[in-house]
């Protein structure tokens, strides 16, 4: 049994272009906003669900980590890593469930 969702794939563009696509959160749903800096906040609307994001880690063009949750969906941690691969970029994504943490409910 796997405890997390993991995906790895390659895209035909360089790191910089791939990074710019990754930090535009609209691919995560229908629309959204994201401040790609540590403690940056964001949201993604996907059909009737809106998820709220808090960025944990940013390593420009290399790694983006955020936690997100909606009012109906349990909070989880998403890690997105980018690495050059030939002429393209390899992207790996991991999502794992998080324990409920008070700060997700808007301590800031």
């Amino acid at each position: 049994m796997i405890e997390r969702v993991q995906r790895e794939f390659e895209v035909p563009c360089d790191l910089e272009a791939a990074w710019n696509h990754v930090i535009d959160p609209s691919w995560l749903g229908e629309e959204g906003e994201l401040e790609a800096r540590p403690d940056g906040e964001g949201w993604v609307r996907d059909h009737e669900t809106t998820r709220y994001l808090v960025v944990e880690e940013v390593d420009e063009q290399r790694r983006l980590v955020y936690r997100w949750a909606s009012f109906t969906d349990a909070p989880s941690l998403v890690e997105i890593d980018l690495a050059p691969s030939g002429a393209g970029t390899r992207i790996s994504i991991t999502e794992s469930p998080l324990e409920a943490r008070a700060q997700l409910v808007g301590a800031r």
Binding site: V11, P12, H21, G29, A74, E99
Partner: protein, 117 residues
């Protein structure tokens, strides 16, 4: 729900516990640490400890039988965990195809404008 989900994943993240959970599922009415320890390479105490982790994460219920504790498997927590995985797997497949399409479209757009120029 959230806490139970992550504790189910933590409980099943250990190979010994996965095997023990499997043994519980195969049993007609649960197992005791003593019985599971027969012929096992780890001690009864170690098995009892793993069984308590399974019980704490909701993967088994505990029934006292005199000096023995019988662990009976439950599947509800497991079902919740696999539902989580299924839903989130599908969601990522969908998101990744959106991302791939966008990247393909924008690189072919660059190529097209290069031709026009």
């Amino acid at each position: 729900m959230t806490d139970s989900l992550s504790s189910v994943f933590a409980a099943l993240g250990d190979e010994t516990r996965r095997t023990l959970y499997q043994r519980l599922l195969e049993s007609a009415n649960g197992e005791t640490a003593t019985h599971l320890a027969q012929g096992a390479t780890i001690s009864r105490q170690a098995i009892a400890k793993h069984l308590r982790v399974l019980a704490n994460s909701g993967l088994a219920t505990v029934r006292r039988e005199g000096r023995e504790t019988r662990y009976v498997p439950t599947t509800q927590a497991m079902t919740q965990a696999s539902n989580w995985l299924n839903e989130h797997s599908l969601a990522w497949d969908r998101r990744i195809s959106v991302l791939e399409r966008r990247i393909r479209d924008s690189s072919s757009a660059e190529g097209a404008s290069g031709l026009v120029r």
